[in-house]
Chain length 284, copies 2
Amino acid sequence: MRGAPSEINGLYANTGNLLKAELFTPIKSTIYRWHQSRFRGKQAAMNDPFHVIGIVRSCYKEKFGIPRQSGQAPTATGTLEMLPPYNRPEAFTGLEGFSHLWLLFLFHGNRHREWKATVRPPRLGGNTRLGVFATRSPFRPNPIGLSAVTLQGIEASGGKVLLHLGGLDLLDGTPVIDIKPYLPYADSLPEARGGFAAEAPAGRVPVRFLPAAEQLCRQLEQQRYPGLRQLIIDTLGSDPRPAYYHKNPPKSGFGMQLLDFDLHWEQDETGIRVTALRHRPDDV
Amino acid sequence: MRGAPSEINGLYANTGNLLKAELFTPIKSTIYRWHQSRFRGKQAAMNDPFHVIGIVRSCYKEKFGIPRQSGQAPTATGTLEMLPPYNRPEAFTGLEGFSHLWLLFLFHGNRHREWKATVRPPRLGGNTRLGVFATRSPFRPNPIGLSAVTLQGIEASGGKVLLHLGGLDLLDGTPVIDIKPYLPYADSLPEARGGFAAEAPAGRVPVRFLPAAEQLCRQLEQQRYPGLRQLIIDTLGSDPRPAYYHKNPPKSGFGMQLLDFDLHWEQDETGIRVTALRHRPDDV
């Protein structure tokens, strides 16, 4: 018989905080016999670290303000730069035929928070607790995220492979662990029932600009940041405020880092007013 | 300045086979400055092992014969049994409102094979090489799979949480590392362009039964295996033969393990003929 009990015990001991000693008995009795030969595979898989295959450079430089799902801000673009040894151009042959990709990535911005069994999704105003597995919350047992992004181009030259992406909901610096093609015949399930998030988030919030901010934005578009105005509208229009600000907006307004700028705005029930756009120092 | 070079060097040394010493220079020069403060997050994430949160019990007991994507055999059912400490019922509150789930899982059946930059997808007859990132091949830098499955029920009692699932393309014993709700508004992209796999696999292969196999199948359905016949049709109808058997079918026919049975069939250009169904010994 493969997978004798003593070996299984050693295996559990290796898995650190996944399984605690006092939990041996129920697991053994329920799953042990079914999977005795397969635990070896688990052990091997669990001892492997995540391999980060690339890093995303995104227009979003901080968590605040990032759309809550991919595709919500189509103009949110960025690049995925592959790390060696995953930067071999032939690893992408055929990818150009796909309009969308899945990215599996690590929520690297939340590494100091433990997972919890329940979370309060912003969609429900932050007041209702749901099970973590009923949400796409980043605070999960494995901090892995899943985003469908558009593939706008593949650039391979000089030992680099860059994927140009759109519809991002990713923080700058996000480590990517897998790229998969989006297969509409298997992945697109328009008839699926979407629970508490059945519909896309409520209509977009109207976004206006103060005259000075509008003028600067137009200038910047012509200089170096084409599409900047629409990116601001797409991003703020999805109402990134945490739920607790809905009732108590801060007197000083809101701010977020977008591309090379600090973006400032005020928000009330009539909509959003962009008040300022300031270039950040280069070394930030 | 955060993330001084010496610290970054130490970080690379920690990451084992992800990054080799001779690759320090190009990475540092291209990404180092952009992400100096963020590499700390990567390090933390990479030192974490995968946490297996549950194990799938599937009708598919070996790799041969498993549909190549989820949803292709709707009657392929199974359960996901959550492991402690992820078996707390409150972690699933709200999940019952969703018809479909994403499972992120480990390809535990292929742990001895290294990833390669190119693979030969069965969809293309096994003759054409594509980049691994243009395919859903299991032989990836991180052996993580992604399947959209139907949620047929949640059973929580006696310290166990079982999710009843359908449309499986998973091997029995598959370790699951995340469960996410399928969000149609973000995940369903019927307009996506699907490259070499734009369409669902070609029409299903007709499946007939030899009289003895048919009779046994009906008997088994009444005893303990409702839906067995349709499961066989759904599974074989998606033509699981590897490409190299299309031209040179084995004289002895094909066989696969399905549920508690060894299923035997013959296949030619007119379709599939189920020749036998034999109960496997209990201790397998």
